[in-house]
Amino acid sequence: MTTPFTRRAAMRAGLAAVAAPTVLRYARGETPIRIGMPLALTGPAAEIGEQMRHGAEFWAKQVNAKGGLIGRPIELHIEDTTGDPATCVRKAQLVVERDDCHLLFGMVLSSEALAVVPKLAEWNAIFVSSDNGDGRLTGSSFVPNFFRANISGPMETRVISLWLRRGEMKNFYAIGMDYAWGHNSIDVFQDEVKKANKNFVGAVFSPIGTKDFSTYITKIRQAGADACFIVMQGADNNAFLSQAREYRLSDKVQLLTSIVDLNSIHAVGDASIGLVGSTRYTFTIDNPANQAFVEAWRKEYGAAPDVFEGEQWQACQILQAGIEKAGSIEADKLRPALETVAVDSIKGHVAIRACDHQAVQGGYMVKVVKQEGAKTPAPVIIATYPGDEVTPACRQMTFDS
């Protein structure tokens, strides 16, 4: 036995190497900042859930590489909710009670968030939303432990309506998916068209899961409108855009959309060219913070950040600023700190307001164009509206004018 390096010795050495950083960390008393993140990672909302996960993981990695936040490492506790509100509440409770998380991200769907927010006080947890659109979360369903870092649904629609008022188009048609979201959005849009003194010539609704849109495209052509507002998502949206391109619909009608995201641009390719819509975030926003973010993101993932990746990053920046300001993650200290947080975000100046915890921020209209040398088309900004024009009054969902 000349070599003392046995398997047991190797294992001991390996264990020591693995354990060392943890031991050191706890030796200095730095318990991690645990953030629970219930996300729809399977089911129809999985695309968005994946993006939010990327955004948060990227942030945690960057913060931890610089020695953590207020000297403590970030630890994400991610759970799959499948996009079901009841499961979401169960998973949120799990991360709060089992993993001792009193900070929450995630909840992809507004229905999930609406189910979770009544529990926040009981859990003594603060939830910073990065994508929940429902106006009620900062309105009738407002709770003190909820913060919305993202643009809300009413704010998105507001951006389109402001853009309409200044535009040349007169007659509008609309197509939406035949369920609550499609009908609500088109109702709001119809109102906005009328407020802008333009004509709303009609709408058609397609059942969820429609595969052939040829008939709907014929109806849109025949309506004789200058523009058609599209309220669709996921597979239906991709099928509609692909087939609209087949029939050269955009030669005749300007297509407006409620969603411009890179996923669907990638899925339909050139069929997305010419689309105009409001977007919550786009990697083409021109400011130093965003350029730095996009560059770092590309280095990590080899692609530009998508809408909800950017929105999640912004939510992380806001939480980070709040924790730094409070010097603590205790809800009672963090809440007042977050209420007055303002950051120079990837979307410019973004500030939480104390009255309803909505982050006041600018809105963007974009147009999808093919750029020199790029393989896929990209959204470029055609109009920007300041935060005070696109954010409704405190705890309101509608606009007076």
Partner: protein, 289 residues
Amino acid sequence: MEFLGFLITQCLNALSQAALLFFLGVGLTLIFGIMRIVNFAHGTFFMLGAYVGYSAVATIGNFWAALIIAPLLVGGFGAAFELAILRHLYRRDHSAFLMVTFGLTLIMGEAIRLIWGVNALEVAAPQSLSGIVFILDEPFPIYRLFLAGAGIVVAIAIWQFLDRTRLGLLIRATSQNAEMVHALGTDVRLVRSAVFGIGCGLAGVGGVLAAPLVTASLAMAPNAVIDTFVIVIIGGMGSFAGSLIGALLVAFVQVFGTYYFPDLALALMYLVMLTVLVVRPGGLLGKEA
């Protein structure tokens, strides 16, 4: 004149839709006819076709090659599944097949999600087919003309295959009396594997052809499987001609029904199915149940 253009283009739309539905329905009905089992995973094979087609286009860069390779792979996978699993279940009652094929849809769906991811993928139509033609001033995509043509060609090919070839003869014979065919010295088990593979391969053809219209996405399977069942029930379980008629009927009712009664779009297909079931419970060309 304007109305004529509208009529012609809508009929062509319906034909192109019918072609896609037929690729799905004919496979399911062939499988049912010979094996007396309902293949719950049929929509998932359709979806697999689109994803394999996507990868084939991405690696080879040629849609036509993908249109040959993807159905072969999907059909091969179907035949392998029959050999490995279904073969052992023929003595059991029908619920075993429902559960096994339903389980297969879950496993395949999850595997596709793991391999290709959750994002929808673009499959572009070949350059030569991506243009439009004008039919009495109405624009019409060449790709849809191609779909309608492909549907007609494949329908004739399957008909000739069933009618003229020895394997076609065996398939028809097995669907009428499997024990007798077995007693006459034919390995019925091989015929079953072949039919299951062919049926899945046809769904794969449909998947590749549908991909440029709807993109390859995880929503394809659940959307497709219901349509397919409706077609096969309308046409009559196990009837080749029935699946063709079912596909045409559903496509024409969908296209014109959606145009004139958009609020009923979802219900139209089921109304046709209900009417058929009331008048002929076994389907238009099926054996009376």
